[in-house]
């Protein structure tokens, strides 16, 4: 008859729906409601480009930066895995798609942050902004018994706008389905894990899971794009100077 909505403070189910909006915003702006999969067409605006150069057929996205640090209160000796998740039209052309960091411990200097400073450097080429790359992070560390257990999953889109960006990703882990399982998983050190860390980069099927937030990871990105503007995609002005846009 009616459905209870938690008001403004609680997003309720509305929040889950937000995952649908996680496609790049060009998509959102141009996609016609009701028709699926209409993607922005690159208007043939090569007039600005040099006439001698052939019109580009792909655009490039170069991402460098690092997984700087994490804040996981109560946990220590953590390491971090990262991987990129991207759409079907994207191909990594150079750099590492996946990586695993060293184990880092807390120090007396900064007792709350775990510093990895793990570099990421990857270049993609793509024909379609749909499926813009996301970085998926998963943090692991030993538990009380020394089992290696997951301490957090998190994902964030690579920023669209060229320039330097810093992102703080909230990390979370799936919850046990029952108290009993929570207890046994604590004993056995086999906590619930996502079947694939890439799950956190997708919106589908998330409604069946329950998670608990567990900490934060700070990642910095240096983003460069090539030919994105030429192909008719306007990502707005970045914080950096104009010159960054060309590779």
């Amino acid at each position: 008859m009616y459905r209870r909505w938690g008001g403004r403070i609680w997003g309720g189910f509305g929040d889950l729906g937000d995952f649908a909006d996680r496609e790049p915003h060009e998509e959102k702006r141009s996609a016609a409601p009701g028709k699926f999969g209409r993607c922005a067409v690159p208007s043939v605006t090569t007039a600005t480009g040099a006439p001698a150069m052939a019109a580009p057929s792909v655009f490039l996205l170069a991402v460098s930066g690092e997984i700087e640090s994490g804040e996981f209160p109560g946990f220590d000796d953590l390491y971090c895995k990262f991987s990129f998740v991207y759409g079907q039209d994207w191909v990594p052309t150079a750099g590492l798609e996946e990586g695993i960091s060293q184990i880092t411990s807390k120090s007396s200097v900064s007792p709350t942050t775990l510093v990895w400073n793990f570099p990421i450097d990857i270049t993609f080429k793509s024909t379609n902004p749909f499926g813009w790359p996301q970085i998926v992070l998963s943090v692991y560390g030993p538990d009380f018994f020394g089992h290696d257990v997951v301490r957090g999953y998190g994902a964030v889109h690579v920023p669209f706008v060229p320039g330097r960006h810093k992102r703080t990703i909230a990390m979370f882990v799936p919850e046990s389905t029952s108290r009993l399982q929570q207890l046994t998983s604590w004993f056995t050190g086999r906590r619930p894990e996502f079947t694939d860390p890439k799950v956190v980069a997708q919106g589908e099927g998330r409604e069946v899971t329950r998670v608990r937030s567990q900490g934060f990871v700070t990642v910095s990105f240096n983003v460069m794009t090539k030919d994105l503007h030429k192909l008719g995609y306007d990502v707005g002005q970045g914080p950096g100077p104009q010159g960054l846009q060309g590779l």
């Binding site: 009616y2 909505w5 389905t177 099927g205």
Partner: protein, 1498 residues
Amino acid sequence: MGLWYKWFYFPYISFRKYLILNHFHFFSVSELPPIPSTSRISFAELSVRQRMREKLKAARVRIPQKSCVIDLSLIRNTHFILLALCCVNLSWDIYFFISEFQDDFPSEEEAYNFFTFNFDAVAEKMKTGSRKKNGLNEEEEVEEEDEQEEDEMLQDILHGFLLSSNVSLVPASEKMPRNRQPRYLEDEGLYTGERPFVSQSNQNILENRILRQDQGKEWFGDDGKILALPNPIKQSSTRPPIFSLEEGIAPELETVYRKAIKMTSTNQYFVGPGDFQGLFQLDIDISGLIFTHHPCFSREHVLAAKLAQLYDQYLARKQKNLTKLLTDKLHALRSAVQYSMEGGGGDGVPVAQQSIPEYKMEIRQTRRLRDAEQEKDRTLLKTIIKVWKQIKSLRDFQKFTNTPMKLYLRKEEVDQKSDEKAYEAEIQAEINELLEECMEEYEKKMEEYKTELHDWKSWKKTQSKKKKKKDTHAEEESEDHDFGEERIKPIPPKMANSLEIEQQVREKADSCRRKPGEPILVPELTLSGSITPTEQCPRAEVLRREDVKKRSAFIKVLFNSKEVSRTVTRPISSDFRVHFGQIFNLQIINWPESLKLQIYETTGISSTTLLAEVFLPVPETAVLTGSAPLEEIEFSSDQRVMLDHEGVGSGVSFSFEADGSNKMTFMTSGKVSSSVSWAVGEKGIPLIPPVAQQNTGIPSALKNIDAIASIGTSGLTDMKKLAKWAAEAKLDPNDPNNAALMQLIMISTSGEAHVPDFFRLEQLQQEFNFVSDEEFNRSKRFRLLQLRSEEVAEFRNYKQVPLHEREISEKIFQDYEKRVQERDVIDSKNYLDAHRAVVASYLQKVRESVIKRFLTAKHHFILSDLVNEEEIPGLGSEGPGILGLGLFKLAEPKRPLRPRRKERKKVTAQNLSDGDIKLLVNIIRAYDIPVRKSVMSKLQQPSKSSRSFNEMFAASPSAQSPPNSPDWAFNQVLVRPFVEVSFQRTVCRTTTAEGPSPCWNEELELPFRYAPNGDYSTHSLQSVKDEVFINVFDEVLHDAVEDDRERGSGIHTRIERHWLGCVKIPFTTIYFQARIDGTFKVNIPPVLLGYSKEKSVGMERGFDSVRNLSEGSYITLFITIEPQLIPGESVREKMNEMLKKFDTQEDEKLLQAAEKYEAECTSKFPSRQCLTTVIDLDGKTVFITRYIKPLNPPQELLDAVPDRSQTAELVARYVALIPFLPDSVSFAGICDLWSTSDQFLYLLAGDEEEHAVLLCNYFLGMGKKAWLVIGNAIPEGPTAYVLTLEQSQYVIWNPSTGCFYGQYDTFCPLQNVYCLISCDNIWFNMQEYDSPGRMYFDISKPKLWKPFFSRSLPFPGLRSIQVLMDLTVVISLSYCRIEKILKDKIMEWRPTRPTRWNRYCTSTLRNFLPLLEQNQGKDVEDDHQAELQKQLGDYRVSGFPIHMPYSEVRPLIEAVHSTRVHTIDVSNVEFALAAYIHAYPQNVLSIWIYVASLVRNR
């Protein structure tokens, strides 16, 4: 005669004073209301006790009325009384007995007599006979006379309060008026109707009774019968009889299962299902709560609240400023009067003249109002100041401050003189007016006085006249005095005193007006005061403050009196305000009935009390979010709260005075500020439900004002409706507010603007389109993207859709378009007859629909898809075990000395890419490979290559004689076999071994190369149709030396390979099984030219003799996939779950029982599959036994062989000839769909269970005892077999090959047996072992076989879903086409070399084939050899017939290809190929292909 007695023993009481019989109580329910008649009979002169005894003994009163009555009599005696209670006999007569005995207990004799007494139904007998029979009392005889007398007496007594009825027939003459004959209307032809049936005796009683009354005859009609209306009772009952299925429950009380129906509600608040327009939204903004009184208020708070209230009032008044308004009005009126008096008077305008008194009236009224307002203002100000003073004094008194309130009185100085002047002028004006008024009044009164005086005077005169008269009539005087009253002389009205008036005015002005020169006081209330900190407060106050801190409040929102949300619990602040600031969006689908807020207060942790309920008005349709103002709604509670601290409580009287006088009582009260409004949707459309019934929803008055309320929001676009509404509401066309609307309506009604009649969907769509539809459809890129997102198979995994149109080639769509076009076009090229093409396209459609369903299911996730979690440790089950065991595991050594085999880590298929998957095939050994036969040696031994079905079970297996030729041992090498494995056209081979029982022990690795569309997801791997061919070849070395001279210097040999047999394993089987480990029968053609089976070899050896019990060659294999893939179990389960949701026609109870049964079975044997329900082709769940029904096999098969036992084989072969098509391939491994036998025969394709069901049904039709076996077999995995009972032995039939095995056959592919199914029951294997050789098949033992239907749940007689079908006629087909296709293919496979066809050989082979079919491939081998030899002469022939069921051409080609006949590259090789099709009923085709290669011997 139903009799029962009850004894009542009353304790012996010897009080003689109770000797009198007190009461008779009769309760007669039927015709009379209970008459508690009391008869008090006193027989004082007699020995009462004695007499009563007599009487009671005789009081055997018969009440012969027809009645179902319980008569209860109670006769009390002081002594022992025996009471025999009513006995009702069959004729419904009631007897009433009272027996009384002597003072003591009844003697044995008496008791006996009582019980053996025969109560007779007939009254007469009773009366006369009873006395004689009854020997109750010996006194009876003595005092018979006396008794008779007393009997009558008693009758009389009884008659006093009972009607004794007469049953005798009343003569007609009595009923009719005298001298009249009864007249029968019916005989006269009039309709009388049927009278209700009343028994004759009852009628008689009634008639007798009526006649006894006065005027009783009135009740009788002309025919001498009682007047009665026709029978109103229907002949048959309208209510159907209820039959109960269940015992023990009354049929009316039995619960009946009904499927839930969606309610089509009649409730006015529901929007009907048809016009559901989505969710509507009501936004409820609850901003906060202010208490105007609260139990925790301190006295200061009470005052402060009062002050605040007064101040609010003051502000409100100030804003309205009525005083000023009225004063101005007064001035205006006065000046108007002045003007009209002065200027207007001269003009003599009559209007003005007329209006002066009106003005004056108005002035008077206005002045009065103004005075009242001024007084109010002043008192308000005074009260404010008074309260503020009270607060101040209270603060001084209690020495602390609780509220931050501070009142400032701002003085506005005024100019003394001008003020005084104005004041004076005002007073003067007022005085003048009053004077005038008084004058008017005076004049008026004067007038009145004058008339009255006149009257009086005249009256006086008459009076005096009368007096004179009265003197004469003295006696009348007194009366007259009474009559006429003395009239009082009217008093002349007083002239108003101007001084008095002035004084009045001044007094009034003093009281309610500011004195001249007095500054104007403007109070200002601020919250700037400081509150005394808690530490400095006295204890009681500290307690109060702590109490306040503990308290918090929240508000529940109730929609249609159901709680929908609640605010957060917020503490009550020290100033008794609660701020929520929450907005609740209520999504509703109907017009709200009520909106209510419940205010709750919580104290401490536990107690929550409902303070008050506030109803919110449902907003009008025009109130939208964003424009709705916050409204304050007051509430109050009648709760009585007393507190033991400074708080004043609520509902408790308290006083500010020290002496406790002037008590006040306050109730908890407050204000909620909130607003309710309709939300505005994404497109700016207000989300308001249509008012379902407009006449109930909104009062009609509102309708006239609000257009939206009247015709709904959607109506606004409808011009006609709007215009109609405007006309009805009588909008003011001159009101500027309506201007726009009126113009619109004008235009629309005048017809100048064209109002379209059509309705456009998504009229805004165009604005959102970034390209036009034509362009969109034309663009290849968009099309590609669209198809990809729709997950069309061809494009599902398309990567990197090019950015530019020009980079997309047209070819991409070609395949897809072709497929789409051909969907409906039946292509008969690949099919030999039209029927098969139709079936194929039908199957294709089923497949597509199932896949579509599956794709939707794929997007439906369950937890295990996303999260890996340890299983719940169950108690006592396998797996992780109980928690305790899990803990023990922790203590286990990390590296145990005897490590156990661990499961390989499973890999989810989605992470894979091309080349990641490998197929590992381990070829271990083979048994009984056919050996070469010397061409020259004419072995004409009648070797029995196969035993018949009969021999196998009837005769002992050792009966075979080894008629061996002696020369076999001297032949050089018998056979040099090797194994070649081909998968997806990749070929791998082992090394060559020697002998008929070779051992290779080699591992072959085959890459998995072609996943469909490059998709390695689970479901696409499941639908891989490729098969693994394991072919056994013989490597033949031929001397290739052309020239004998070279023989000394070199060896030239040519290697030829001869196909011996093959094993085919579908990839899906490996995929689902994860590994395949076992010994398989090699499929060896019935005739292998040049080879023979040397069975005798093993006969002497002990071990092999066991092996040799069975027929054929065997190969031991181990196959697995690396890495181990997770078969999509979860997907399948999910799909099954989904399918279960589809409707079913099974009884709910049965399904529940099935579920329970399955759960019970699987909990005991988790590895054994328990099957109770399956899904049919329509996706409905069907109970499995419905599939089993005896069916008659085709008559042709029965006629073919006279021997019954051979018929069974023939039938099995027939069933096996129906092509095998695994469901998992056709339906992408989603689920097993079971088709019925007729569907199966129509489709001519099915997997194990369809074959098994059909075979089982045929066996049952032949009168055999047969069961369906659900079990596990190699290589199929979970499968269905058929079990029959033959001559006290159990035989297992493989329905898809037609082979049969004994129960103890070692090579029986059936490895595990899980359940047996017959047409009326399911048995689950409860035995320790489940391999057929180690178990009992006696299903009558419930310990071994747990039945589904048992005594507790009997078989409800489920109807079979199998339909009898007519088998259609045989269609004969030409084999030439197949021959041609295959020949073309062979030539295609040999692109570099010429392929010659030997016509002689082909024709010979063609002759063999029908024979082969006739004999089912038995006993013909040697004939062939000889025949060919004769025909062809000097040729080395190697060849074999391939036998297959026919479905389409492709498998034939594959089979021929896998034999590798075409690979011979001898230069002068010739080929022969012949095909033959034998048609069985219902188009089941058996196809034979004979392939041979010939090399001319030199």
